[in-house]
């Protein structure tokens, strides 16, 4: 079982992706999708040796909701700054230490921070486990770090580690 499914999460995601793409849950689609999912996850096992573990799947929904809300909010905020004829954002770099070490969780955090307009994940330093983030319009650095820590990192720690 373990040999056939080295990456159960990835396989499930791929099967889901296939079915959404086909817009059908007919037997043929499920069968073909499963073959592709298992084959691809076997191939992925050569590249990503450690499997992804999701401890609390239900928290993923909460994470998605929080991220969605933040994306809408920061889109509006960025639109306001750019709507100004002479935009004067207070841009700044932030270097913060992360407790998160799981590769997959870090990737999710990078996607979320980058998907939110106004903040961009630039570089992760594995030796010091610090991340360099560029913020478009920074009001308060300490406050911003706390937001990332409490809103995202705490949740990701619960889900993945």
């Amino acid at each position: 079982m373990k040999k056939l499914f080295p990456h159960p999460v990835l396989a499930a995601l791929l099967l889901g992706l296939w079915l959404v793409l086909q817009q059908s849950i007919g037997f043929g689609h499920v069968l073909l999708g499963s073959i592709i999912a298992i084959g691809a996850s076997l191939a992925a096992a050569k590249i990503i040796p450690e499997p992804v573990r999701i401890r609390n799947p239900h928290l993923l929904l909460k994470l998605a909701a929080i991220a969605g809300l933040d994306i809408v909010r920061s889109n509006i905020a960025l639109l306001m700054v750019l709507g100004n004829p002479r935009p004067k954002p207070k841009a700044a770099f932030i270097e913060m230490k992360l407790e998160l070490t799981d590769t997959f969780a870090l990737a999710v955090l990078a996607c979320l921070i980058t998907a939110t307009p106004g903040s961009a994940w630039l570089e992760y330093n594995r030796e010091h486990s610090t991340v360099l983030i560029h913020v478009f319009d920074l009001v308060d650095a300490a406050d911003w770090e706390t937001t990332i820590r409490t809103r995202y990192e705490a949740l990701l720690l619960e889900i993945f580690q």
Binding site: N75, L79, L82, G83, C111
Partner: protein
């Protein structure tokens, strides 16, 4: 085009498309208007997050109604855009960071060895 689409829904779909296009355009204009690389990387994110999201949402609603079954391919497009943006961003950003550090730019946080 489609007689099956009720007026209020047509208005809703158009509103989503319009708002999405507006956000995407604001992002593109920002890319042109902002002065430095680090500021510029933020502007197009509006297009890849909410701008694109609203257009995709409008597309999902429109085709779900006119084809009379739920259509949500759009979720995949959104997921792929969200997952692939950081890859390009990090590639560009790290190249720029490297260059700026070699040049000894004072604004860039140095990598402590």
């Amino acid at each position: 085009m489609s007689p099956d689409l009720p007026l209020w829904l047509a208005i809703l779909v158009s509103l989503f498309v319009f708002l999405g296009a507006l956000l995407t355009m604001a992002g593109c204009l920002g890319l042109v208007r902002l002065k430095t690389f680090y500021l510029r990387i933020h502007a197009p994110t509006m297009g890849t997050s909410m701008g694109g999201g609203l257009i995709l949402l409008a597309s999902a609603i429109y085709f779900s109604i006119t084809r009379e079954r739920p259509i949500f391919h759009e979720i995949i497009i959104f997921a792929f855009v969200t997952v692939t943006t950081p890859v390009t961003l990090m590639l560009l950003a790290r190249a720029t960071l490297f260059r700026d550090r070699v040049e000894g730019s004072a604004e860039i946080p140095q990598r402590d060895a």
